[in-house]
Protein backbone atom coordinates (compact mmCIF):
# COMPACT_ATOMS: atom_id res chain seq x y z
CA UNK A 1 0.00 0.00 0.00
CA UNK A 2 1.48 3.27 -1.05
CA UNK A 3 1.35 6.07 1.42
CA UNK A 4 -1.01 8.98 0.78
CA UNK A 5 1.06 12.15 0.80
CA UNK A 6 -1.56 14.68 -0.31
CA UNK A 7 -5.26 14.48 0.34
CA UNK A 8 -7.95 17.10 -0.07
CA UNK A 9 -11.62 16.77 0.75
CA UNK A 10 -14.30 19.13 -0.56
CA UNK A 11 -11.61 21.73 -1.03
CA UNK A 12 -13.09 25.12 -1.98
CA UNK A 13 -11.53 28.45 -2.65
CA UNK A 14 -13.40 31.60 -3.59
CA UNK A 15 -12.62 35.28 -3.52
CA UNK A 16 -14.32 38.58 -4.02
CA UNK A 17 -12.98 40.32 -7.10
CA UNK A 18 -14.61 43.63 -6.29
CA UNK A 19 -16.28 44.42 -3.04
CA UNK A 20 -19.98 43.58 -3.03
CA UNK A 21 -19.75 41.60 -6.26
CA UNK A 22 -20.50 37.94 -6.56
CA UNK A 23 -17.66 35.74 -5.40
CA UNK A 24 -15.43 34.02 -7.94
CA UNK A 25 -15.25 30.29 -7.35
CA UNK A 26 -11.75 29.03 -8.08
CA UNK A 27 -11.84 25.55 -6.57
CA UNK A 28 -15.16 23.77 -6.20
CA UNK A 29 -15.25 20.90 -3.78
CA UNK A 30 -12.07 19.27 -4.97
CA UNK A 31 -11.26 15.76 -3.77
CA UNK A 32 -7.73 14.69 -4.56
CA UNK A 33 -5.45 11.94 -3.29
CA UNK A 34 -1.81 11.68 -4.31
CA UNK A 35 0.49 8.83 -3.36
CA UNK A 36 4.06 9.31 -2.24
CA UNK A 37 6.54 9.00 -5.09
CA UNK A 38 4.07 9.63 -7.89
CA UNK A 39 4.48 11.98 -10.81
CA UNK A 40 1.25 13.82 -11.46
CA UNK A 41 0.69 16.28 -14.32
CA UNK A 42 -2.01 18.86 -13.71
CA UNK A 43 -3.59 20.29 -16.86
CA UNK A 44 -6.21 22.97 -17.27
CA UNK A 45 -6.76 26.22 -19.11
CA UNK A 46 -5.91 29.58 -17.53
CA UNK A 47 -8.32 30.20 -14.69
CA UNK A 48 -9.15 26.52 -14.20
CA UNK A 49 -7.79 26.64 -10.65
CA UNK A 50 -4.53 24.74 -11.07
CA UNK A 51 -2.22 27.42 -9.68
CA UNK A 52 -4.54 27.99 -6.75
CA UNK A 53 -4.42 24.29 -5.99
CA UNK A 54 -0.61 24.49 -6.02
CA UNK A 55 -0.67 27.42 -3.63
CA UNK A 56 -3.05 25.65 -1.26
CA UNK A 57 -0.61 22.74 -1.06
CA UNK A 58 2.26 25.07 -0.21
CA UNK A 59 0.04 26.89 2.33
CA UNK A 60 0.40 30.14 0.41
CA UNK A 61 -3.38 30.26 0.12
CA UNK A 62 -5.89 29.30 2.83
CA UNK A 63 -8.89 27.39 1.49
CA UNK A 64 -12.32 28.92 2.02
CA UNK A 65 -13.62 25.53 3.12
CA UNK A 66 -12.74 21.86 2.96
CA UNK A 67 -9.88 19.88 4.37
CA UNK A 68 -6.26 19.32 3.38
CA UNK A 69 -3.94 16.62 4.69
CA UNK A 70 -0.25 16.74 3.94
CA UNK A 71 2.06 13.91 5.05
CA UNK A 72 -0.87 12.37 6.87
CA UNK A 73 -1.52 15.43 8.97
CA UNK A 74 -4.55 17.65 8.69
CA UNK A 75 -3.62 21.26 8.03
CA UNK A 76 -5.19 23.74 10.37
CA UNK A 77 -3.64 27.15 10.38
CA UNK A 78 -5.37 28.08 13.62
CA UNK A 79 -4.14 25.24 15.76
CA UNK A 80 -0.76 24.66 14.12
CA UNK A 81 2.22 26.68 15.32
CA UNK A 82 4.15 28.95 13.01
CA UNK A 83 7.07 26.51 13.10
CA UNK A 84 4.86 23.63 12.07
CA UNK A 85 3.54 25.64 9.13
CA UNK A 86 7.07 26.58 8.04
CA UNK A 87 8.06 22.95 8.25
CA UNK A 88 5.20 22.00 5.90
CA UNK A 89 6.29 24.72 3.45
CA UNK A 90 9.81 23.33 3.52
CA UNK A 91 8.54 19.85 2.72
CA UNK A 92 6.44 21.10 -0.20
CA UNK A 93 8.77 22.98 -2.57
CA UNK A 94 7.51 25.17 -5.36
CA UNK A 95 9.15 26.12 -8.62
CA UNK A 96 7.48 28.93 -10.54
CA UNK A 97 7.30 30.01 -14.15
CA UNK A 98 9.74 32.85 -14.44
CA UNK A 99 13.35 31.89 -13.67
CA UNK A 100 14.35 35.51 -13.25
CA UNK A 101 11.93 36.06 -10.40
CA UNK A 102 13.19 33.19 -8.32
CA UNK A 103 16.89 33.85 -8.03
CA UNK A 104 18.00 36.21 -5.29
CA UNK A 105 21.78 36.01 -5.01
CA UNK A 106 24.53 37.17 -7.36
CA UNK A 107 26.36 33.84 -7.32
CA UNK A 108 24.72 30.52 -8.19
CA UNK A 109 25.89 28.62 -5.10
CA UNK A 110 24.86 31.45 -2.79
CA UNK A 111 21.44 31.40 -4.33
CA UNK A 112 21.10 27.69 -3.68
CA UNK A 113 22.28 28.24 -0.09
CA UNK A 114 19.65 30.90 0.56
CA UNK A 115 16.91 28.49 1.64
CA UNK A 116 18.92 26.33 4.06
CA UNK A 117 20.58 29.45 5.53
CA UNK A 118 17.15 30.84 6.25
CA UNK A 119 16.04 27.83 8.18
CA UNK A 120 19.25 27.76 10.20
CA UNK A 121 21.04 24.75 8.76
CA UNK A 122 24.64 24.26 9.98
CA UNK A 123 27.20 25.83 7.58
CA UNK A 124 28.98 22.53 6.88
CA UNK A 125 25.66 20.89 6.19
CA UNK A 126 24.69 23.81 3.88
CA UNK A 127 27.89 23.25 1.92
CA UNK A 128 27.05 19.59 1.53
CA UNK A 129 23.47 20.27 0.48
CA UNK A 130 24.41 22.96 -2.03
CA UNK A 131 26.98 20.73 -3.71
CA UNK A 132 24.59 17.85 -3.80
CA UNK A 133 21.71 19.93 -5.17
CA UNK A 134 23.86 21.46 -7.92
CA UNK A 135 25.13 18.00 -8.79
CA UNK A 136 21.57 16.67 -9.08
CA UNK A 137 20.50 19.39 -11.51
CA UNK A 138 23.79 19.19 -13.44
CA UNK A 139 24.94 22.73 -12.60
CA UNK A 140 28.06 22.03 -10.55
CA UNK A 141 30.28 23.64 -13.18
CA UNK A 142 28.35 26.88 -12.78
CA UNK A 143 28.52 27.10 -8.96
CA UNK A 144 30.60 30.28 -9.00
CA UNK A 145 28.84 31.88 -11.96
CA UNK A 146 26.48 34.79 -11.83
CA UNK A 147 22.89 33.70 -12.53
CA UNK A 148 22.28 36.47 -15.08
CA UNK A 149 24.80 34.88 -17.43
CA UNK A 150 22.87 31.63 -17.56
CA UNK A 151 20.28 30.52 -20.07
CA UNK A 152 16.63 30.20 -19.03
CA UNK A 153 16.88 26.44 -18.60
CA UNK A 154 20.03 26.77 -16.52
CA UNK A 155 18.45 29.44 -14.31
CA UNK A 156 15.43 27.25 -13.79
CA UNK A 157 17.69 24.36 -12.79
CA UNK A 158 19.40 26.63 -10.25
CA UNK A 159 15.95 27.52 -8.90
CA UNK A 160 15.22 23.80 -8.59
CA UNK A 161 18.54 23.28 -6.79
CA UNK A 162 17.54 26.01 -4.34
CA UNK A 163 14.41 24.05 -3.54
CA UNK A 164 16.29 20.74 -3.34
CA UNK A 165 18.65 22.19 -0.73
CA UNK A 166 15.62 22.37 1.56
CA UNK A 167 15.08 18.62 1.13
CA UNK A 168 11.42 18.73 0.12
CA UNK A 169 9.33 15.58 -0.23
CA UNK A 170 6.90 17.11 -2.71
CA UNK A 171 7.83 19.59 -5.44
CA UNK A 172 5.15 21.52 -7.27
CA UNK A 173 6.21 22.89 -10.64
CA UNK A 174 3.89 25.69 -11.71
CA UNK A 175 4.42 25.97 -15.47
CA UNK A 176 8.15 25.89 -14.90
CA UNK A 177 8.96 25.28 -18.55
CA UNK A 178 6.61 27.87 -20.06
CA UNK A 179 9.28 30.51 -20.63
CA UNK A 180 12.01 28.19 -21.87
CA UNK A 181 13.22 27.28 -25.34
CA UNK A 182 13.04 23.63 -26.47
CA UNK A 183 16.51 22.86 -25.13
CA UNK A 184 15.78 24.48 -21.77
CA UNK A 185 12.50 22.63 -21.55
CA UNK A 186 14.22 19.33 -22.13
CA UNK A 187 16.84 20.09 -19.46
CA UNK A 188 14.20 20.94 -16.87
CA UNK A 189 11.98 17.98 -17.75
CA UNK A 190 14.91 15.58 -17.54
CA UNK A 191 15.71 17.02 -14.12
CA UNK A 192 12.10 16.60 -12.95
CA UNK A 193 12.02 12.99 -14.13
CA UNK A 194 15.32 12.28 -12.43
CA UNK A 195 14.11 13.71 -9.11
CA UNK A 196 11.05 11.52 -9.28
CA UNK A 197 12.86 8.37 -10.35
CA UNK A 198 16.08 8.57 -8.35
CA UNK A 199 15.10 10.55 -5.26
CA UNK A 200 11.52 9.37 -5.07
CA UNK A 201 10.31 12.96 -4.82
CA UNK A 202 6.57 13.33 -5.33
CA UNK A 203 6.00 15.61 -8.32
CA UNK A 204 3.03 17.76 -9.18
CA UNK A 205 3.67 19.35 -12.55
CA UNK A 206 1.32 22.03 -13.79
CA UNK A 207 1.74 22.51 -17.52
CA UNK A 208 0.10 23.71 -20.72
CA UNK A 209 2.14 21.37 -22.87
CA UNK A 210 0.27 18.16 -23.55
CA UNK A 211 3.46 16.43 -24.66
CA UNK A 212 5.02 17.03 -21.23
CA UNK A 213 2.09 15.34 -19.54
CA UNK A 214 2.82 12.13 -21.47
CA UNK A 215 5.73 11.41 -19.13
CA UNK A 216 3.67 11.53 -15.95
CA UNK A 217 2.24 8.48 -14.14
CA UNK A 218 -1.04 10.28 -13.83
CA UNK A 219 -2.78 13.21 -15.48
CA UNK A 220 -5.42 15.35 -13.82
CA UNK A 221 -7.46 17.78 -15.88
CA UNK A 222 -9.02 20.71 -14.05
CA UNK A 223 -11.84 22.76 -15.48
CA UNK A 224 -13.72 25.45 -13.63
CA UNK A 225 -12.28 24.38 -10.28
CA UNK A 226 -13.22 20.72 -10.63
CA UNK A 227 -11.34 17.59 -11.60
CA UNK A 228 -12.92 16.53 -14.90
CA UNK A 229 -10.48 13.80 -15.93
CA UNK A 230 -8.07 11.73 -13.87
CA UNK A 231 -6.04 8.75 -15.03
CA UNK A 232 -2.91 7.63 -16.83
CA UNK A 233 -1.93 9.87 -19.76
CA UNK A 234 -3.29 7.24 -22.12
CA UNK A 235 -6.63 7.07 -20.34
CA UNK A 236 -7.01 10.82 -20.15
CA UNK A 237 -6.03 11.53 -23.74
CA UNK A 238 -8.39 8.84 -25.01
CA UNK A 239 -11.19 11.22 -23.99
CA UNK A 240 -10.47 13.56 -26.89
CA UNK A 241 -13.78 15.40 -26.73
CA UNK A 242 -13.68 15.91 -22.96
CA UNK A 243 -10.10 17.17 -23.12
CA UNK A 244 -11.15 19.67 -25.79
CA UNK A 245 -14.20 20.71 -23.82
CA UNK A 246 -11.84 21.57 -20.97
CA UNK A 247 -10.10 24.03 -23.31
CA UNK A 248 -7.07 21.84 -23.95
CA UNK A 249 -5.57 19.95 -26.87
CA UNK A 250 -4.58 16.34 -27.16
CA UNK A 251 -1.10 15.48 -28.50
CA UNK A 252 -1.02 15.57 -32.34
CA UNK A 253 -0.51 11.82 -32.64
CA UNK A 254 -3.46 11.13 -30.41
CA UNK A 255 -5.61 13.44 -32.50
CA UNK A 256 -4.52 11.76 -35.72
CA UNK A 257 -5.29 8.25 -34.56
CA UNK A 258 -8.55 9.42 -33.03
CA UNK A 259 -9.61 10.86 -36.37
CA UNK A 260 -8.57 7.67 -38.12
CA UNK A 261 -10.92 5.86 -35.76
CA UNK A 262 -8.14 3.81 -34.16
CA UNK A 263 -8.43 2.61 -30.61
CA UNK A 264 -5.69 2.33 -28.00
CA UNK A 265 -4.66 6.01 -27.79
CA UNK A 266 -1.05 5.95 -28.98
CA UNK A 267 0.92 8.83 -27.48
CA UNK A 268 4.42 8.45 -28.89
CA UNK A 269 5.62 8.45 -32.52
CA UNK A 270 6.49 4.74 -32.30
CA UNK A 271 3.10 3.79 -30.91
CA UNK A 272 1.40 5.94 -33.53
CA UNK A 273 3.40 4.23 -36.29
CA UNK A 274 2.47 0.81 -34.86
CA UNK A 275 -1.22 1.67 -34.87
CA UNK A 276 -1.13 3.03 -38.41
CA UNK A 277 0.94 0.11 -39.64
CA UNK A 278 -1.69 -2.25 -38.22
CA UNK A 279 -4.41 -0.28 -39.96
CA UNK A 280 -2.62 -0.45 -43.32
CA UNK A 281 -1.93 -4.18 -43.02
CA UNK A 282 -5.50 -4.78 -42.07
CA UNK A 283 -6.71 -2.88 -45.15
CA UNK A 284 -4.36 -4.68 -47.50
CA UNK A 285 -5.57 -8.05 -46.26
CA UNK A 286 -9.16 -7.09 -46.83
CA UNK A 287 -8.57 -5.87 -50.38
Amino acid sequence: MAETIIKTEKLCFEYEKNEGEEKTQVLRSLDLTVERGSFVAVLGHNGSGKSTLAKVLNLLVTPTSGKVWLFGKEINEETMTEDELYEIRRRVGMVFQNPDNQLVATIVEEDVAFGPENIGVEPSEIRRRVDEALETVGMTAFARHSPHQLSGGQKQRVAIAGILALRPEIIVFDESTAMLDPMGRREVLDTIRKLNRDNGTTILMITHYMDEAIDADRVIVLDDGRIVLDGTPREVFSHVEEVRAAGLDVPQITELTYRLGLSGTPITAEEGADAIEALITNRQERN
Binding site: N46, L180, G247, R259, G272
Partner: protein, 288 residues
Protein backbone atom coordinates in the same frame (compact mmCIF):
# COMPACT_ATOMS: atom_id res chain seq x y z
CA UNK B 1 12.69 44.62 -54.38
CA UNK B 2 8.95 44.97 -55.02
CA UNK B 3 7.77 42.15 -52.85
CA UNK B 4 10.30 42.67 -50.10
CA UNK B 5 8.98 44.16 -46.87
CA UNK B 6 12.29 44.30 -45.06
CA UNK B 7 15.82 43.25 -45.66
CA UNK B 8 18.98 42.81 -43.65
CA UNK B 9 22.15 43.12 -45.75
CA UNK B 10 25.36 41.82 -44.23
CA UNK B 11 24.14 42.75 -40.77
CA UNK B 12 26.16 42.04 -37.64
CA UNK B 13 25.40 42.94 -34.09
CA UNK B 14 27.93 42.80 -31.31
CA UNK B 15 26.88 43.30 -27.69
CA UNK B 16 29.33 45.09 -25.37
CA UNK B 17 31.81 45.61 -28.18
CA UNK B 18 35.42 46.18 -27.13
CA UNK B 19 34.82 44.94 -23.59
CA UNK B 20 35.69 41.54 -22.10
CA UNK B 21 31.99 40.66 -22.44
CA UNK B 22 31.93 41.20 -26.18
CA UNK B 23 29.48 38.84 -27.82
CA UNK B 24 28.62 38.52 -31.48
CA UNK B 25 24.85 38.00 -31.45
CA UNK B 26 24.26 38.32 -35.18
CA UNK B 27 27.03 37.55 -37.59
CA UNK B 28 26.93 38.93 -41.14
CA UNK B 29 23.33 38.08 -41.85
CA UNK B 30 21.40 38.52 -45.09
CA UNK B 31 17.69 38.08 -44.57
CA UNK B 32 14.77 39.05 -46.78
CA UNK B 33 11.23 39.24 -45.46
CA UNK B 34 8.70 38.62 -48.18
CA UNK B 35 5.80 41.02 -48.24
CA UNK B 36 2.47 39.82 -46.88
CA UNK B 37 3.96 36.63 -45.48
CA UNK B 38 4.00 35.34 -41.94
CA UNK B 39 7.63 34.49 -41.30
CA UNK B 40 8.44 32.40 -38.26
CA UNK B 41 11.76 33.01 -36.56
CA UNK B 42 13.06 30.09 -34.57
CA UNK B 43 16.24 29.09 -32.82
CA UNK B 44 17.33 28.36 -29.28
CA UNK B 45 18.25 31.00 -26.72
CA UNK B 46 21.25 32.98 -27.89
CA UNK B 47 20.78 32.15 -31.57
CA UNK B 48 20.25 35.82 -32.38
CA UNK B 49 16.57 35.79 -33.25
CA UNK B 50 15.46 38.48 -30.79
CA UNK B 51 18.36 40.67 -31.88
CA UNK B 52 17.23 40.32 -35.49
CA UNK B 53 13.67 41.24 -34.47
CA UNK B 54 14.88 44.34 -32.66
CA UNK B 55 17.01 45.45 -35.58
CA UNK B 56 14.02 45.19 -37.90
CA UNK B 57 12.24 48.03 -36.17
CA UNK B 58 15.29 50.12 -35.48
CA UNK B 59 15.41 49.43 -31.78
CA UNK B 60 18.95 48.15 -32.14
CA UNK B 61 21.37 49.65 -34.60
CA UNK B 62 23.54 47.05 -36.32
CA UNK B 63 27.25 47.20 -35.61
CA UNK B 64 27.70 46.81 -39.35
CA UNK B 65 25.53 46.25 -42.41
CA UNK B 66 22.29 47.79 -43.61
CA UNK B 67 18.65 47.37 -42.64
CA UNK B 68 15.99 48.19 -45.21
CA UNK B 69 12.36 48.59 -44.17
CA UNK B 70 9.81 49.18 -46.93
CA UNK B 71 12.64 49.86 -49.33
CA UNK B 72 14.40 52.47 -47.23
CA UNK B 73 17.75 52.20 -45.46
CA UNK B 74 16.54 53.00 -41.97
CA UNK B 75 19.83 54.25 -40.57
CA UNK B 76 20.52 56.62 -43.46
CA UNK B 77 18.97 59.35 -41.42
CA UNK B 78 19.06 58.28 -37.74
CA UNK B 79 16.86 61.21 -36.71
CA UNK B 80 14.06 59.67 -38.68
CA UNK B 81 14.18 56.37 -36.82
CA UNK B 82 10.94 57.08 -34.95
CA UNK B 83 9.06 56.66 -38.22
CA UNK B 84 10.44 53.15 -38.59
CA UNK B 85 8.99 52.20 -35.21
CA UNK B 86 5.52 53.11 -36.49
CA UNK B 87 6.05 51.22 -39.73
CA UNK B 88 7.41 48.15 -38.04
CA UNK B 89 5.62 47.49 -34.76
CA UNK B 90 7.31 45.27 -32.22
CA UNK B 91 5.38 43.32 -29.61
CA UNK B 92 7.76 42.23 -26.88
CA UNK B 93 7.70 39.04 -24.86
CA UNK B 94 5.11 39.19 -22.09
CA UNK B 95 3.82 42.55 -23.33
CA UNK B 96 1.05 42.52 -20.71
CA UNK B 97 3.62 43.72 -18.17
CA UNK B 98 3.82 46.96 -20.09
CA UNK B 99 0.18 47.96 -19.73
CA UNK B 100 -0.14 51.09 -17.64
CA UNK B 101 -3.23 53.11 -18.51
CA UNK B 102 -6.44 53.35 -16.52
CA UNK B 103 -8.67 51.85 -19.17
CA UNK B 104 -8.24 49.32 -21.94
CA UNK B 105 -9.20 51.87 -24.60
CA UNK B 106 -6.70 54.44 -23.35
CA UNK B 107 -3.93 51.90 -23.23
CA UNK B 108 -4.55 50.86 -26.83
CA UNK B 109 -4.81 54.53 -27.85
CA UNK B 110 -1.36 55.35 -26.48
CA UNK B 111 0.52 54.45 -29.68
CA UNK B 112 -1.77 56.19 -32.19
CA UNK B 113 -1.93 59.25 -29.91
CA UNK B 114 1.87 59.43 -29.96
CA UNK B 115 1.69 59.39 -33.73
CA UNK B 116 -0.28 62.62 -33.47
CA UNK B 117 -3.45 61.28 -35.10
CA UNK B 118 -6.79 63.11 -34.70
CA UNK B 119 -9.07 61.86 -31.91
CA UNK B 120 -11.71 60.35 -34.22
CA UNK B 121 -9.08 58.40 -36.08
CA UNK B 122 -7.68 57.20 -32.77
CA UNK B 123 -11.00 55.90 -31.50
CA UNK B 124 -11.81 54.15 -34.74
CA UNK B 125 -8.39 52.51 -34.69
CA UNK B 126 -8.84 51.43 -31.09
CA UNK B 127 -12.20 49.82 -31.90
CA UNK B 128 -10.73 48.13 -34.94
CA UNK B 129 -7.72 46.82 -33.05
CA UNK B 130 -9.95 45.40 -30.33
CA UNK B 131 -11.93 43.59 -32.99
CA UNK B 132 -8.74 42.15 -34.51
CA UNK B 133 -7.71 40.57 -31.25
CA UNK B 134 -11.24 39.52 -30.34
CA UNK B 135 -11.72 41.79 -27.32
CA UNK B 136 -15.33 42.67 -26.69
CA UNK B 137 -16.11 46.40 -26.96
CA UNK B 138 -17.66 46.25 -23.49
CA UNK B 139 -14.15 45.92 -22.06
CA UNK B 140 -13.02 49.36 -23.33
CA UNK B 141 -13.66 51.20 -20.09
CA UNK B 142 -12.38 48.46 -17.80
CA UNK B 143 -9.02 48.65 -16.10
CA UNK B 144 -6.57 46.44 -17.99
CA UNK B 145 -5.41 45.13 -14.62
CA UNK B 146 -8.78 43.50 -13.97
CA UNK B 147 -8.47 41.30 -17.04
CA UNK B 148 -7.19 37.75 -17.29
CA UNK B 149 -3.63 37.14 -18.46
CA UNK B 150 -4.75 36.18 -21.96
CA UNK B 151 -6.94 39.27 -22.27
CA UNK B 152 -4.14 41.55 -21.06
CA UNK B 153 -1.86 40.10 -23.69
CA UNK B 154 -4.47 40.87 -26.33
CA UNK B 155 -4.78 44.46 -25.09
CA UNK B 156 -1.02 44.87 -25.48
CA UNK B 157 -1.14 43.41 -28.98
CA UNK B 158 -4.06 45.67 -29.92
CA UNK B 159 -1.99 48.66 -28.75
CA UNK B 160 0.60 47.88 -31.42
CA UNK B 161 -1.99 47.00 -34.09
CA UNK B 162 -3.69 50.37 -33.53
CA UNK B 163 -0.59 52.00 -34.99
CA UNK B 164 -1.29 49.95 -38.11
CA UNK B 165 2.28 48.89 -38.73
CA UNK B 166 3.01 47.47 -42.16
CA UNK B 167 5.30 45.00 -40.49
CA UNK B 168 4.21 43.39 -37.25
CA UNK B 169 7.00 41.76 -35.26
CA UNK B 170 6.08 39.52 -32.34
CA UNK B 171 8.49 38.03 -29.82
CA UNK B 172 6.89 34.83 -28.54
CA UNK B 173 3.32 36.11 -28.64
CA UNK B 174 1.82 32.90 -27.24
CA UNK B 175 4.36 32.09 -24.50
CA UNK B 176 2.73 30.90 -21.30
CA UNK B 177 -0.82 30.86 -22.65
CA UNK B 178 -3.09 27.84 -22.57
CA UNK B 179 -4.16 26.27 -25.89
CA UNK B 180 -7.29 28.42 -26.12
CA UNK B 181 -5.44 31.64 -25.30
CA UNK B 182 -2.77 30.70 -27.82
CA UNK B 183 -5.30 30.20 -30.58
CA UNK B 184 -7.04 33.48 -29.73
CA UNK B 185 -3.88 35.52 -29.89
CA UNK B 186 -2.46 33.87 -33.00
CA UNK B 187 -5.71 34.02 -34.92
CA UNK B 188 -5.83 37.73 -34.00
CA UNK B 189 -2.46 38.13 -35.68
CA UNK B 190 -3.69 36.29 -38.77
CA UNK B 191 -6.84 38.48 -38.88
CA UNK B 192 -4.73 41.61 -38.74
CA UNK B 193 -2.54 40.34 -41.53
CA UNK B 194 -5.44 39.38 -43.74
CA UNK B 195 -7.28 42.66 -43.29
CA UNK B 196 -4.29 44.96 -43.68
CA UNK B 197 -1.98 42.93 -45.90
CA UNK B 198 0.78 43.43 -43.34
CA UNK B 199 3.94 41.37 -43.15
CA UNK B 200 4.33 39.42 -39.93
CA UNK B 201 7.46 38.19 -38.21
CA UNK B 202 6.87 35.86 -35.31
CA UNK B 203 9.38 34.40 -32.91
CA UNK B 204 8.23 31.17 -31.35
CA UNK B 205 9.56 28.05 -29.68
CA UNK B 206 6.53 26.04 -30.66
CA UNK B 207 7.07 24.03 -33.81
CA UNK B 208 3.37 23.20 -33.87
CA UNK B 209 2.43 26.90 -33.91
CA UNK B 210 5.02 27.59 -36.58
CA UNK B 211 3.61 24.80 -38.70
CA UNK B 212 0.11 26.09 -38.33
CA UNK B 213 0.53 29.82 -38.81
CA UNK B 214 3.68 30.54 -40.82
CA UNK B 215 4.24 30.79 -44.58
CA UNK B 216 8.00 30.92 -44.19
CA UNK B 217 10.33 29.78 -41.46
CA UNK B 218 13.77 31.15 -40.72
CA UNK B 219 15.87 29.05 -38.38
CA UNK B 220 18.70 30.91 -36.69
CA UNK B 221 21.73 29.28 -35.12
CA UNK B 222 24.82 30.88 -33.65
CA UNK B 223 23.96 34.30 -35.02
CA UNK B 224 23.45 33.07 -38.58
CA UNK B 225 20.51 31.89 -40.70
CA UNK B 226 20.58 28.10 -40.64
CA UNK B 227 17.52 27.09 -42.64
CA UNK B 228 14.96 29.12 -44.55
CA UNK B 229 11.92 28.18 -46.55
CA UNK B 230 8.32 27.06 -46.39
CA UNK B 231 7.37 24.87 -43.42
CA UNK B 232 7.45 21.84 -45.76
CA UNK B 233 11.04 22.53 -46.66
CA UNK B 234 12.20 23.34 -43.14
CA UNK B 235 10.46 20.48 -41.37
CA UNK B 236 11.74 17.93 -43.86
CA UNK B 237 15.18 18.66 -42.35
CA UNK B 238 14.44 16.92 -39.07
CA UNK B 239 18.03 15.86 -38.51
CA UNK B 240 19.49 19.30 -39.09
CA UNK B 241 16.90 20.83 -36.76
CA UNK B 242 17.67 18.35 -34.02
CA UNK B 243 21.37 19.06 -34.43
CA UNK B 244 20.80 22.64 -33.26
CA UNK B 245 18.60 21.71 -30.34
CA UNK B 246 15.26 22.13 -32.10
CA UNK B 247 12.70 19.54 -32.85
CA UNK B 248 10.08 18.89 -35.49
CA UNK B 249 6.35 18.69 -34.74
CA UNK B 250 5.24 15.40 -33.20
CA UNK B 251 3.28 14.52 -36.33
CA UNK B 252 6.36 15.01 -38.53
CA UNK B 253 8.22 12.57 -36.30
CA UNK B 254 5.44 10.03 -36.75
CA UNK B 255 5.60 10.34 -40.52
CA UNK B 256 9.38 9.93 -40.43
CA UNK B 257 8.89 6.73 -38.42
CA UNK B 258 6.44 5.43 -41.02
CA UNK B 259 8.93 6.22 -43.79
CA UNK B 260 11.62 4.40 -41.87
CA UNK B 261 9.35 1.38 -41.86
CA UNK B 262 9.12 1.58 -45.62
CA UNK B 263 5.80 3.35 -46.20
CA UNK B 264 5.79 5.90 -49.02
CA UNK B 265 4.59 8.91 -47.03
CA UNK B 266 5.82 12.45 -47.49
CA UNK B 267 8.58 13.64 -45.17
CA UNK B 268 7.27 17.18 -45.09
CA UNK B 269 3.98 16.61 -43.31
CA UNK B 270 3.58 18.87 -40.31
CA UNK B 271 -0.14 19.17 -39.64
CA UNK B 272 -2.68 16.57 -38.55
CA UNK B 273 -4.75 17.35 -41.68
CA UNK B 274 -1.91 16.59 -44.07
CA UNK B 275 -1.04 13.44 -42.15
CA UNK B 276 -4.61 12.23 -42.44
CA UNK B 277 -4.53 12.77 -46.20
CA UNK B 278 -1.25 10.85 -46.53
CA UNK B 279 -2.48 7.92 -44.48
CA UNK B 280 -5.78 7.74 -46.31
CA UNK B 281 -3.83 7.46 -49.55
CA UNK B 282 -2.18 4.34 -48.13
CA UNK B 283 -5.36 2.80 -46.82
CA UNK B 284 -7.20 3.25 -50.07
CA UNK B 285 -8.81 6.64 -49.75
CA UNK B 286 -11.98 5.83 -47.85
CA UNK B 287 -12.55 7.05 -44.34
CA UNK B 288 -10.84 4.73 -41.95
Amino acid sequence: MENTAAKLCGVSYIYSEKTPFEKVAVDGVDVTLEEGMVTGLIGHTGSGKSTVAQMLNGLLRPTSGEVYVLGRNIWENPKDIRRVRFEAGLVFQYPEYQLFEETVARDIAFGPRNMGLPEEEISSRVAEAMAFVGLDASLSEKSPFDLSGGQKRRVALAGVMAMQPKILILDEPAAGLDPRGRDEILSGVVRYKERTGATVVMISHSMEDMARYCDRILVMNDGKPYLYGTPEVVFSEAERLEKVGLSVPQITRLMAELRRRGYPVSASVYTVEAALAEIRKLTGGDRA
